[in-house]
Subunit: 426 residues, 2 copies
C-alpha cells in the first residue's frame, strides 16, 4: 500500500455511480408499470429480472418455519445474541413527547411518534445479509413502527435465503415480499393489491434500487443512499501492524470502491503495516476485490505528529474510525467527524458490523461531517403543539401583528385582529 | 369556497415546480462558475441578476449599526420577544451524548455534537423575512453551531433590507453575504475567498435556489425543499366561522399554490365559513392571490362525524393544523400526521408563524406523514462509540465470526481471528 506524507488536503470522496440515462429510463418505466398494474407488474418483472415465476408474492408461514431447518444452531445463537445487543442499544435512543405549561395557560410542546409504516429492502444474490435486516428492522421496531414490510429478490426457484427468513422470523417481521430492484421500491412506495404502501423505505441496494429510491423520495421518505464503504485507522507506534492490516483488509474485501486508510505519525508502523497487508491479502478468498480496493483507494498517511493525524482524520470524516493508540479515549474528544468510532485493539470494525449493538448503517464518502448512523429518530417524527391561552394571546397580539405587517402579510395580521376586536371596543 | 362531502380519498398533494431543463442548465452553469472563479464569479453574477455592483461581498459592521435607524421600536421589541420565545422552545430540544459502561469493561454510546458550520439562505425582494432568519438561525445556535453564514440578495444599490440586518444583528450573526440565487448556494457549498464553505444549507428560496440546493446535496447537507404552504382547520359547530375564514385566508394570501382547507362535520359551519371567506377576502391587499388559492386549492370537507373528520385530517397530513373544537385537547391524541398543531381559538396560525416559539419551517405537501418541523436535531449529528474490552471480545468472538462467514466476508472473520489466535494456542 502506498505511504503518503500528509502535507495538504486529504479526502475520502470518491465519485459514486449515480446511474446513466438508460438505467434511469429503465427505472422510470418499472415504477410506472408497478404503479399502474400493481401485483401483475410485480410478478411480470420478477420473472423477467429474477427468473422466478411466482404464484404468491408473499413468503408463507410454512416457508418461514422450514427455513429454520437450514440454519445452523451456532448461527441462530449468534443472530439471537446480536439482535438482543442491537435492540438494547437502540432502546436507549427512544424519546418522549414533551410539553411546557405556562402560568398564563399556554401549552407548548413536541409530540414525538413513530412512523406508521416502513419498508426494508434486503439485497439478494448469492450472499445473504441477516445483519442488514437486523440493523434496519430493529430501530424501526424500537421506534414503535407498527407496519414493517420487508422485500428481497427471490432466486430462480422463487425462494429467499433461509438465513434471511430466519432472521426476519426471529425479529417478528410478518410481511415479506419476494421482489427486488426498482419494482420492489415501487411496490413499497405506491402499494399494490398485496404490498402495503409505506411511509419510508430503508436498506441498501444496487444502482436500480438507488435510482428508484431517489425517484420516489418526497412521496415517501428514504434513508441515505449509501456510497462505498470505508475505514480509517488512527494508530500510534504501540499498535500491532498485523491487526491493522487485517482490519483494513476486512474493509477492502467489500468492493473495489471501498477505501481502507491508515493515518499514523509512526513511519515504522506505516512500513510494517504495508508489508502485513501484502502478506495477508494473498490468503483471502476475495483477494482480487481487496487488492483492487487497496491499490485504488487504500493509503497510509504519514504525519509528523498525532495532532496532525487527528486533523487528517477529521478531514477524512470516515464512515468507520478505529483508534489504536495507547489510550484511545484520549483522542475521542478531538474526533469531530466519523460515523462510528472503535476504541482500542479489541474493537475491530466487525465487532460493530455485526454484534455490539450500534448500527452499521453509517454515513459514507465524507458525509459523516453532517450525517449520523441510522437510529431510532429516523423512524419517528415530531409535531409541534401550540395551545395559546386567551391571556397570552391578548398580551402578545400587538407583537404578532407588528411582525406580520413588517413582512407584508396583512391577512396574517387580520387573523389576530379579528380576535382582539371585541376587546378593543370594550 | 367549494363544500365537498368527504366520501373517499382526500389529499393535499400538489404538483410542485421542479424546474425545467433551461433552469437546470442555468443553475449548473452558475455552480461551475462560482466553484472555479469564487468571489469574482459571485460579484459578476450579482451584478447580472440583482443589478448590484458590489465592492464588498460582506455586510459591514457599519451597515448593521445603521440599519437600526430604519426599524421601528415597536418592531424591534416584537423581534426581541419572538427571538426569546423561539430560543426558549428550541433549548428544550437539546440532547447530550450518552454512554453505557458494562461490567465486562465494554463502553457503548452516542456522541452527539453540533455541525461545524451552517449557511442560512434568506430570500430578498421587496418583502423582508425576519421570521425566516429567526426560525433558521436560532435552532442552529442552540445546537451549538459555531459558524453561521447568512446570505441574501442585495437590492440594486447593494443594500440588504434593514429589518433583515437588524434581526441578524440581534441574533449575533456576524457573517452576512450579499448574494442570492444559485450563486449564493454555490458559494456556501464550495466556499470562496470571502465566503466560508459550510456543511449544511438551510432556508427557503425560489426555483433556482431549490435546484442549486438539490445539486450540491451530498457534498453538503440541505434542509427539506419546501413546497407551497397549507393549513387545515378541524372544527365543530362551536367554532366561529369568522375566525376560521380569517385563518384560512392568512394561508391563502401566501401564494396561489397555497392550500386552505376546513374539515368539519357541521354543515351550518361549512356554509357560514364559505360566506365569511367571500366577505373577508374582498378586503385584503393580497386579494388576487388569496382568491386564486381559495379557488384552486381551497376546500371545505364535510363529514358525517368528528371521527371521520379526524381520519380526513390524518390523510391530508397538513403542514399546519388548527383544532377549533369545544375541547381541542380531546382530539390531540388522535392526530397522527401534522407539522404543527394549533389548539383552540386563541392559537391562530400566525401565533406560531412568528412568535410562540416552535419552528415555522414545517413539512408541506403531505410530507408530515414522515417529516418533522425544523429542530435542533437538524443541526447536530451523532457518532456511535464502541469500546470493547478484552473479556467481552473473547466472549463474543465466535458469534461474530459465525455471522461474518454466514455473509461470505472472510476477511471480516479474520480480523477477529487474528486477535484470538494467541488465546486459542494457549
Amino acid at each position: 500500500m502506498r505511504i503518503i506524507k500528509v502535507t495538504e488536503e486529504v479526502s475520502l470522496a470518491r465519485d459514486v455511480d449515480t446511474g446513466n440515462e438508460t438505467q434511469q429510463a429503465s427505472v422510470d418505466n418499472i415504477l410506472a408499470q408497478v404503479r399502474e398494474e400493481g401485483d401483475q407488474a410485480l410478478k411480470k418483472l420478477t420473472e423477467q429480472f429474477d427468473g422466478a415465476a411466482l404464484e404468491n408474492l408473499l413468503v408463507t408461514k410454512e416457508e418461514m418455519d422450514d427455513a429454520y431447518n437450514e440454519v445452523d444452531d451456532e448461527v441462530l445463537e449468534a443472530l439471537r445474541q446480536a439482535a438482543l445487543n442491537i435492540r438494547e442499544f437502540h432502546e436507549r435512543q427512544t424519546r418522549q413527547s414533551w410539553m411546557v405549561t405556562k402560568e398564563d395557560g399556554t401549552m407548548l410542546g413536541q409530540k414525538i411518534i413513530p412512523l406508521d409504516s416502513v419498508g426494508v429492502y434486503v439485497p439478494g444474490g448469492k450472499a445473504s445479509y441477516p445483519s442488514t435486516i437486523m440493523m434496519n428492522v430493529i430501530p424501526a421496531q424500537v421506534a414503535g413502527v407498527e407496519n414493517i414490510v420487508m422485500t428481497s429478490p427471490p432466486d430462480k426457484n422463487g425462494n429467499l435465503n433461509p438465513a434471511v427468513l430466519v432472521t426476519a422470523a426471529e425479529l417478528g417481521v410478518k410481511t415479506i415480499v419476494k421482489a427486488g430492484g426498482a419494482q420492489a421500491v415501487a411496490a413499497l412506495a405506491y402499494g399494490t393489491e398485496t404490498v402495503p404502501k409505506v411511509d419510508k423505505i430503508v436498506g441498501p441496494g444496487n444502482i436500480f434500487v438507488a435510482l428508484a429510491k431517489r425517484a420516489v423520495f418526497g412521496q415517501v421518505d428514504i434513508d441515505m443512499i449509501a456510497g462505498p464503504s470505508e475505514v480509517v485507522v488512527l494508530a500510534d507506534e504501540r499498535a500491532r501492524p498485523e491487526y491493522i492490516a487485517a482490519d483494513l483488509l476486512s474493509q477492502a474485501e467489500h468492493d473495489e470502491m471501498a477505501s481502507a486508510v491508515l493515518v499514523t505519525p509512526s513511519e515504522t508502523l506505516a512500513q510494517m503495516t504495508a508489508s502485513e497487508i501484502e502478506r495477508q491479502v494473498k490468503e483471502l478468498p476475495r483477494k482480487d476485490i481487496a487488492e483492487a480496493s487497496i491499490k485504488d483507494y487504500g493509503a497510509i498517511y504519514l504525519t509528523e505528529t498525532m495532532e496532525e493525524a487527528i486533523a487528517a482524520v477529521n478531514k477524512l470524516a470516515p464512515e468507520h474510525l478505529e483508534i489504536l493508540t495507547l489510550n484511545p479515549h484520549d483522542q475521542l474528544g478531538k474526533i469531530k467527524h466519523a460515523g462510528a468510532i472503535f476504541l482500542g485493539q479489541y474493537s475491530p470494525e466487525p465487532v460493530g458490523d455485526y454484534f455490539a449493538g450500534p448500527n452499521h448503517v453509517l454515513p459514507t464518502n465524507g458525509t459523516a461531517r453532517f450525517s449520523s448512523p441510522l437510529n431510532v429518530d429516523d423512524f419517528t417524527k415530531k409535531s409541534s403543539i401550540i395551545s395559546y391561552s386567551k391571556e397570552a394571546f391578548h398580551r402578545d397580539a400587538a407583537h404578532i401583528t407588528a411582525l406580520a405587517r413588517l413582512e407584508g402579510l396583512e391577512a396574517h395580521a387580520r387573523s389576530i385582529d379579528i380576535r382582539t376586536e371585541g376587546k378593543k371596543s370594550e
